[in-house]
Amino acid sequence: MMPAYYLEAAVVILGLVLMVMEAFVEKADKSLIAKMGIVGLLVVLVSLFFVSGPAEGDDAPIWSFYAVDPMALFYKGFALVTTILVLIMSLDYRSVLQHYMGADQEKPGAGIGEFHYLPLFTCAGLMWMASAKDIVSIFVALELVTISFYVLVAFMRRNVGSLEAGVKYLILGALSTGFFVYGLTWLFGLSGETELSKIAAALGNDDSAMVRYPKALLFSLAMILVGLGFKIAAVPFQIWVPDVYQGAPTPITAFLSVGSKAAGFVVGYRIMEPFFANHVAPQLVTLILAISGATILLGNLAAVAQENFKRLLAYSSISHAGFLLLALGCSSSTTSPVNVEGVMALYLGGYLAMTLVAFHVMCLVRAQLGSEDLSAYKGLSKRSPFLAGVLLVAMISLAGVPFTAGFIGKMYVFLMALQSRYFVIIALAVVGVGAGFYYYLKVVRAMYWDDAADDQSVQISTLSKVAMLTMVALIVILGIYPTPILNLFAA
């Protein structure tokens, strides 16, 4: 057994080694970097099962800002799986990158090596964030993720769309950091502590400034919610999402929509949790529910009109943030045997599988058919029955058809909301799910019912096939047997 923080150290060292190696790899082919990254991360993923928290009596300072609990371990694995799949996607996406990096014939790989190792640093940030339980480490981990995303989003520097997406993400990301830090500042000012467990303990003390000044506390929590709202793409902080998702390189869009959202929810849950059993809980819950309802409604309704598959998934990602917020909003009132952490983990686990499959298909279609519009998916079942099949599973799961992970996640969220008697939000969510069926199945219709413009087929590498089949298996298994994840979080 080894201390859990060895994992982050291993990922960072792997990233640094690949960074140095990149300079020496032949310029024609940089795929070696990505392949080594994939192997290295798989090793880290396996060693995740052999880590431990602090031993009895071990009070080294690191354990005061680094948590090792089921939640931390689950989201570490989550970050690792996401990064591995993003690296596999980036291999399939190389031809597009080479085109926009202005590579010449002799050195087609020049300039894209960074694309293969930068995700490792993001991964380390995501893993650290899963464990962070101190204001300082939360902030630093969050910024490690955000700043490496700035670079990755704007990576295709000869493509105006990617640059614009980069600038928009930069400005709004930095704005959200401003709000988030200001909120943390006030939380520190009111509690006098930076450690979340000590803040929670201080809440029980009636002399604490947090109890004496509930308005200031709410202000601070609202600022933190605004900052995290940007990260998880909640209304009204979702304005950047469609443009950034559309402009960014597709593997990075996938990374943003899965990794960034999960990290936002982990941090949000860790910070907000003590306040759900407290004098500010009613206002806090109202705020979260209002955001949740607006997010579900806007995300789903705006997706209906989209003709670009990437923008469609951007709005779909917004709507899923709404469902997750609804789960978070049930924290203070739910009495069901399953707890909120478990439901959030289940929902995000299913969301990871279905979203990554959809983006993987999109990478292949973009690289080989040259378009991200829905029209490019017409007749995909003739071009490649395999791709159409996996995308079909991903789409029906995103829509929430029974026996898929998407259904089981939504079902638990609805059950918790019913128990908490949030009937207005449930009505909005039902409208959202209905709209969801329409636009997800629009993609299925294009694939199976429409005819392709030409008879060009799509080639898929074995590695990608294995990756997509694993995710499809995960969707089906979680849809039928979600108990392992729920048990992981059972008290």
């Binding site: 204001i135 300082v136 902030f139 630093v140 910024e143 700043i147 700035y150 670079v151 704007a154 520097r157 000869r158 105006v160 769309g161 640059l163 614009e164 997406a165 980069g166 600038v167 928009k168 930069l170 400005i171 930095a174 704005l175 950091t177 401003g178 709000f179 830090v181 200001y182 943390l184 500042t185 006030w186 520190f188 000012g189 006098g192 502590e193 930076t194 469609p242 443009d243 559309q246 402009g247 009109a305 989209q306 670009n308 923008r311």
Partner: protein, 105 residues
């Protein structure tokens, strides 16, 4: 006598100025500068909270430690951010937000 409230007021003012700069100005460079101002606002209130929240007669240094992290992170953010803005300028010959509207649904 300058109290905690005075510092918090100035810090809130800085934050509001920064936020209005982000919303109202059209030049990316000025927007970016305003963003840094918002982070400075947080730094100022952190130091003030730390100074006025004495632990055993000493300021609460946890807050001041966070200030150093914020300064460092802000520097990293500027390094990356300005590089992206330069790349955009080379591609489009503009740094005005009114011109970066090629993506519309």
């Amino acid at each position: 006598m300058i109290t905690l409230n005075h510092y918090l007021f100035v810090s809130g003012l800085l934050f509001a100025l920064g936020l209005s700069g982000v919303i109202l100005r059209r030049s990316l460079i000025v927007i970016f500068m305003s963003l840094e101002m918002m982070l400075s606002a947080a730094n100022l209130s952190l130091v003030a909270f730390s100074r006025f929240h004495l632990v055993d007669g000493l300021p609460n240094y946890n807050g001041q430690a966070l200030v150093f992290f914020i300064i460092t992170v802000a520097a990293a953010e500027v390094a990356v951010g300005l590089a992206i803005i330069v790349a955009l300028f080379r591609a489009r010959q503009t740094t005005s937000v009114d011109d970066i509207t090629s993506m519309k649904y």
